[in-house]
Point group: C2
Chain length 174, copies 2
DNA sequence: TGACATAATGAAAACGACTTTCAACTTCAG
DNA sequence: CTGAAGTTGAAAGTCGTTTTCATTATGTCA
């Protein structure tokens, strides 16, 4: 099992490859290119870590030159998912969808501290293998999975014991 | 790995034990007993398989003698979860939460056919062990997990190949 | 290059799953 | 039995997301 760094956001070269991929999908679906869509794609693909639609809109609004309407972001994100550029995650999804880049990134799952919101991204090949075995055993062709582990991280466990509830640092994101 | 039968709904004796457990939680939280709450608990605990809040309300409304308001169901279900009687599942959760009984039932995860909605409930101890290892390795105390596999079941795969899209039977539940 | 068909966009309304508010009704300890 | 406090249904409110519609942008074909 390995811990992966939290998504660092695509650099300019990777971004160009991603946008090219997006254009392929757009073409294949008989859609038209649009600059707003690429602005949204750029924001999503260069975002560091997990993001909500709101994060993206705020980020876009913060940039004085561009300004994408939330409804448009809602329209574009599924296309980015379809293009295999980003994917939905459960992480802290109490309210609203969350996404992260998956383009040019290794598959991984999440271990989440429910006290402070810390997220460990891990890759555990042994579990992946067992999942495939299991699906095969039941005659399923596997297309995806959700695997998220919840618990209490060591610092939270300790500060819980010490102070009876106070967290050691940042609060859960939602 | 083992396949489990889909939740068959509690019999009268099990139901009584569950309601007793509920009363414990109610007492512990300084709440009062209520017949409506027990009617809802009864409906949830005897429900066969996965259910949505809407399923429950409809079921309750169908019964001429009792009639629980949706808002009340929304209030009661979290209490049943807290009492360890039911738990939330992801299964086909495109719209709205879904639950299933977990009281006096073995832990299991889900393998879901995204074409026809078939759900295989499985218990795979090897994966559970690896999950615990992983959490420990990162210093987490594990409190829960979500593990759901998505794919295409054999019948769907075959009718896909044969007819180019038609399903072999029941449609996805949502 | 200009014109047309069609997709994309923003704004606002609609939607749907919940949650909250509040007045009337239970429950239960004293 | 009585009062304090929890519970309920009904209706209104919240919030993420989707849809509608008029306007704007894109791309193709003369």
């Amino acid at each position: 099992m390995r811990r992966l760094p939290t998504s660092p956001g695509l650099d300019e070269r990777g971004l160009q490859r991603a946008l090219e991929r997006l254009r392929e999908v757009v073409r294949a679906r008989g859609l038209k290119n649009s600059s707003v869509r690429e602005i949204i794609a750029r924001a999503a693909l260069t975002y560091e870590g997990h993001f909500s639609i709101d994060d993206l809109v705020r980020g876009l609004r913060g940039d004085a030159l561009v300004d994408a309407h939330p409804a448009t972001v809602y329209r574009v994100l599924p296309l980015l998912v379809e293009a295999g550029l980003i994917e939905a995650t459960l992480v802290s999804s109490k309210a609203g969808s969350r996404y992260e880049r998956c383009f040019e990134r290794e598959h991984h799952d999440h271990l989440v501290c429910t006290k402070c919101g810390t997220v460990v991204e891990f890759c555990f090949e042994a579990i992946e293998v067992l999942q495939r075995d299991l699906a095969e055993r039941f005659g399923f062709e596997l297309t995806g999975h959700v695997h998220e582990l919840f618990g209490t991280c060591r610092p939270c466990k300790q500060s819980d014991k010490a102070s009876g509830g106070a967290t050691h640092g940042r609060a859960p994101s939602r």
